[in-house]
Amino acid sequence: MVEEEGFRRYVAHFILWIGIAIVAFPVYIAIIASTQDNALIANGQMSLLPGGHFFETYYQTIFVGTSGSTREPVGNMMLNSLVMALAIAIGKIAISIISAYAIVYFRFPFRMPIFWIIFITLMLPVEVRIYPTYKIVADLHMLDSYAGLALPLIASATATLLFRQFFMTVPDELLEASRIDGAGPLRFFWDTLLPLSRTNMAALFVILFILGWNQYLWPLLITTRDDMQTIQVGIRKMITTTDALTEWPIVMATAVLAMLPPVFVVVAMQKLFVRGLVETEK
């Protein structure tokens, strides 16, 4: 091991704490602001210490909503975001794992063209096909619905690639053994392959859940009804252009609530998250 003199080690600790402070400061401010009085904040006199409105603000945010531009309670928005995030994460994993299974374990006409058709979608992010996709969802009468929120985002080339990669490393003997046991392709998939893929699926789920929870442009376009709004869209609508009307404590409480689920997932599942991240990028 290369020697680390005491002084250098202190410098390292110091730099890391500065990094953490920079990373955490905006969130600290948000939490503080969510406990303070709106009038005080609007005057530009916000203090850097917690105020006394914690319960009041969060109660109003979750169950009542703002009195201005969007009257939807944030609790309902969070529910919409949760449904959307779960549908995207589970949907992506489900359709990717079965298509990867077909591509790896079967020989059939058009196998490679199908693989490439899926692969190329890596290059078509929702941002660049936004209006035509909107039109199709409208034609299918899926505006303002959970299906419309999730389905167009459910295809995943990266998840398919990841499972394909993983299936390639599964030894052939396993398949031969289960064939001797009289298992067909569906049995083998369900009893052998699926249990083996558990950690991959879990790692992917962490990444995809966050991806789904944090979607913004797509729900912004296809939801018009307030009760179908996701929290990311709702928070933007709370910031009115006329400053006087923005209820900043509620906006900040919403920001804190919007951060909680994904940040919790990242911190709690750190190992899986890092694994999933490094793998999906390959």
């Binding site: 609007a42 530009g44 298509s99 374990y105 079967f106 059939f108 290059m123 941002e127 209006y131 933007r236």
Partner: protein
């Protein structure tokens, strides 16, 4: 590479790929094709008639100084976001890679901003740097800066870059840390025995060995700055003041939604698609090379 052990079945594999294929064709290829077709069409103001105009939408676009400005602005933003976020993340990763007490805690405290959504990032930063009520604006004014990002375009741009770079630190940090930990420690020991001081060791040993990671992250960061900053821009400035924070993606959105100019918006989408294809291509070339290292 092919599997030796496979199943024989005529219909099952098609049934298995069908859901993925259906979604991909309906929600990816069909709209992408529509965008390409639309980009060759000109629609009158009421959407009553359309004419096929070949490349007129594209020609118009490249004649439009506003589009040219958006291209330059997008590249400037991307460059500024990538460089600032990468250099800060590298500094933190190098520190966190040292055998320090509590390094796991440091890691946990540094990676979570990855999970914060772009519009929330926008809301946090606009609140802190709001001209009249922002906590940080007080200090800026105290040191004599006339801070008002809602009126000053350059300040608005700086604000977007700051917020976007902040969010990306954790992602870059993670990949740098993984890259650093993949370098065998014996390399450093050899350099130390040769008498190289820490700074020298970093520039002559660590940095070159880390260059594949740096290049990979550069591409990822550019893609991020192109697309994922939409939520930040939309919550913080909505493209304003004027057009000083309108990037290419924001322009596709605003021209199509607010301007109702579908032909032009579609042509812009197609140009963006070409850019993504090029960037993804570079990324894959690089990943393939890394495998053979």
């Amino acid at each position: 590479m092919q599997k030796q052990a496979i199943f024989q079945s005529k219909l099952l594999p098609y049934a298995l790929v069908a859901p993925q294929l259906a979604i991909v064709l309906i929600f990816f290829y069909w709209p992408a094709l529509q965008a390409v077709i639309q980009s060759f069409l000109l629609q009158d103001a009421f959407g009553l008639s359309t004419t096929f105009v070949w490349f007129e939408n594209y020609v118009e676009l490249f004649r439009d100084p506003a589009y040219f400005e958006a291209i330059v602005r997008t590249f400037l933003f991307s460059f500024a976001i990538a460089v600032s976020s990468l250099s800060f993340a590298l500094l933190l990763a190098v520190m966190a890679d040292k055998p320090l007490r509590g390094s796991m805690l440091y890691r946990t405290l540094l990676i979570w901003p990855y999970a914060v959504a772009p519009p929330v990032v926008g809301v946090l930063w606009i609140f802190m740097l709001h001209p009249s009520l922002g906590v940080l604006s007080r200090y800026l004014r105290a040191v004599g800066i006339d801070w008002n990002p809602l009126l000053d375009g350059d300040q608005a741009a700086a604000l977007i870059i700051l917020a976007a770079a902040w969010k990306q630190i954790s992602y870059n940090f993670l990949f740098f840390l993984a890259g650093l930990q993949a370098i065998p420690k014996s390399v450093f020991e050899a350099a130390a025995i040769d008498g190289a001081r820490p700074m020298r060791r970093f520039w002559t040993v660590t940095f070159p060995l880390l260059s594949p990671t740096i290049f990979f992250l550069l591409v990822v960061n550019i893609v991020y700055a192109f697309f994922d900053t939409f939520g930040i821009i939309d919550t913080m400035t909505r493209g304003g003041p004027g057009t000083s924070t309108v990037t290419l993606v924001y322009k596709v959105y605003s021209d199509g939604l607010l301007g109702g100019n579908l032909g032009s918006s579609a042509a812009q989408s197609v140009i963006l698609m070409v850019m993504v294809i090029v960037l993804t291509g570079i990324q894959f070339r690089f990943v393939e090379r890394k495998v053979t290292y």
